[in-house]
Symmetry: C3
Subunit: 272 residues, 3 copies
């Protein structure tokens, strides 16, 4: 697995692959800069035909549901449909799931197109699995803004159910990150607590995973992203102790990290 991760990171730097996005206004700049930092190319749009165009010319596509506006009710399902049709990975970050009616409707409209990668915190992954009727989940995980209230391990069965449904991979971010394709579960820890003090770490990870998904299968891409983020987080935390300096150092270290650097971050894979 290590060599596939290193190759993914290095091939991305060489190819400058495009992963277009529909993503939220809060963190869109960080998403684009993170995608550039790992060697990718970024383009953000809102209209359905534009998203379809980017799916077609790009290698993967990223959808983050943060700050929806009405046009997204059509364009997010259209992007998912296009990705499904052309067999390209769509990375879905269901930020804010449970909040408001449009978000729910969009996620139900996306379901038939089985996005190959889902990325979120534990609460979001649990809520998506429940919304899509993939398994019964205990009550009590309502929305609390955009931060997780559930632990990563609590989301394991939801994540596996989602991955089996899509045939792709699911990544759950937390103190320990969890990536699964339904039969394998990778766990990796690292990063820095300062990553929770900067907005957009999860969003930009989704964008980076989409870039990596242009060069690798969903499970490898999601794991490579998680490891790259742990690596950059640890290196940045050795340089900066406060959030804004940390964010600058984080993107710098994401840019610096070689394939070998990323692959040498600790992780464990369990067959389940």
């Amino acid at each position: 697995m290590g060599s596939r991760i290193a190759e993914t990171v290095e091939r991305t730097k060489a190819a400058c692959p495009l992963a277009g996005s529909i993503t939220n206004a809060v963190t869109v700049n960080l998403v684009a800069n993170a995608q550039l930092a790992v060697g990718g190319s970024a383009a953000m749009v809102n209209f359905a035909d534009e998203a379809e165009g980017l799916v077609e010319i790009g290698g993967a596509f990223y959808v983050n549901m943060g700050t929806l506006v009405p046009v997204h009710a059509e364009s997010i399902p259209a992007a998912a449909r296009a990705a499904h049709k052309w067999g390209k990975a769509l990375v879905l970050d269901p930020v804010g799931i449970g909040l408001g009616g449009v978000r729910t409707r969009i996620l139900l409209d996306v379901k038939p197109f089985r996005p190959l990668i889902v990325r979120g915190n534990a609460s979001e992954v649990i809520a998506l699995s429940r919304l899509w009727g993939l398994e019964a989940v205990a009550e009590g995980s309502g929305p609390r803004g955009v931060d997780a209230v559930d632990g990563v391990e609590d989301a394991l069965s939801a994540a596996r159910a989602l991955a089996r449904f899509t045939g792709g991979a699911v990544a759950v971010s937390g103190a320990v990150d969890l990536v699964t394709d339904g039969s394998r579960v990778a766990r990796c820890s690292g990063g820095s607590p300062l990553m929770t003090k900067v907005t957009g770490m999860g969003c930009s990870l989704g964008g980076v995973v989409a870039v990596y998904a242009t060069q690798a299968d969903p499970f490898t891409a999601a794991l490579a992203g998680a490891l790259a983020y742990n690596r950059a987080g640890e290196r940045a935390a050795a340089i900066a102790y406060t959030p804004a300096s940390f964010q600058v150092a984080f993107i710098d270290e994401l840019y610096r990290a070689t394939g070998e650097d990323v692959a040498s971050q600790p992780f464990e894979i369990e067959e389940v």
Copy 2:
């Protein structure tokens, strides 16, 4: 007052309280990062039902009218109505007041819900007081983009009229900041001229005041925000002499500042 300010700052760090926002695209990232830096939690939305949901689960809500799109014509008044109904503080930043028809209509629709905190530069506060018919104001303060053309003291009677109308507090930003609840006027100076060379200092202050308003009354929250900004501005200006470095240092210092640090910034309160 000093001890209430220190408590507000420290309670915020301990509680990680959520203040949702409808805020402009230019500075939304800085707003969120400033809210996280002081210990709060951030979530930005555009739809009415989402805003109502965040008002319900959060402790306060922030509305900044910078880059309006059509959906805001419904969602900003809905957020104000929800905040009014549930007795939660809504912080209103009437950026760009006077520019275009939608902005005016929204502000008129918000009026019945008396947002508990209004924050703006002198020109914006004067224009809002006039728009809401709270006092006769001399002509000549038309819009000039987003920067103030009036002095802070020129806005004193408008600010007091607004505060008496809402029953909350009004904060006017400038070289000297002014915070009033109608009967008390706090003045504090400090900060740095570089704060005018970085976009979003006022916007992100509004977001921070909303976070503080989850832990304190409107007057205390608005004053705590102004003092925290003066503190961080002064410390950042001791480190950085150019705007982008200054912005990084500013958020870092906002994060570092303790309740005691903020409460020890100079301010004076006058009963009027």
Copy 3:
């Protein structure tokens, strides 16, 4: 030419002129901060009447087509019409040209109002010249996200055709930047390869050119902007070797640069 450039830069610092914008969500914060760094004033809007208001009270206007939403189909042509009517420079950055239907329709609607400055990469300038029927261009320059696939010199005849059509200036960004008013062609090189690793360098240059266009003719404004960016890029690259640090240093150096600094950057003007 050097003294006109130095004067443009210095007059901007003294006047704090407003150039409003309709610009994309990805880089809007950097656009505003770059405009402030060179001494200008920024205001971003989406509605037609707001854009018209900013054209009226500002000295120039910037339109960047990155992340369109439906309201822009009306407001971008309205801004162009207002600028044309009042004889103010509109700087058009046709980002993403060729992608989706709305973008094409807007650009066709803008054509009659002949924006006085067009700024883009080589592929965008070639595509705009072709879309407006200004010259036959070889096939094969379809959209590839937002990055250029054509070389700057390949865009020379398209740029000249556009400049002759508008009666203004066209700036093509690349390793060598090219600015033309149809009869003169200025070329300047410099900057840093790191400028391609940070999102929004081109977008924010457009915003800065709009600010300079409040103080100078289109050709001088576009050249001053290109030289200021080369200057800041070179200085920043001497300080920072990684993209996020580079971006911070870049805005800092843009702020520091005097009129003399900018005018002393190398450039050559050819009469054609």
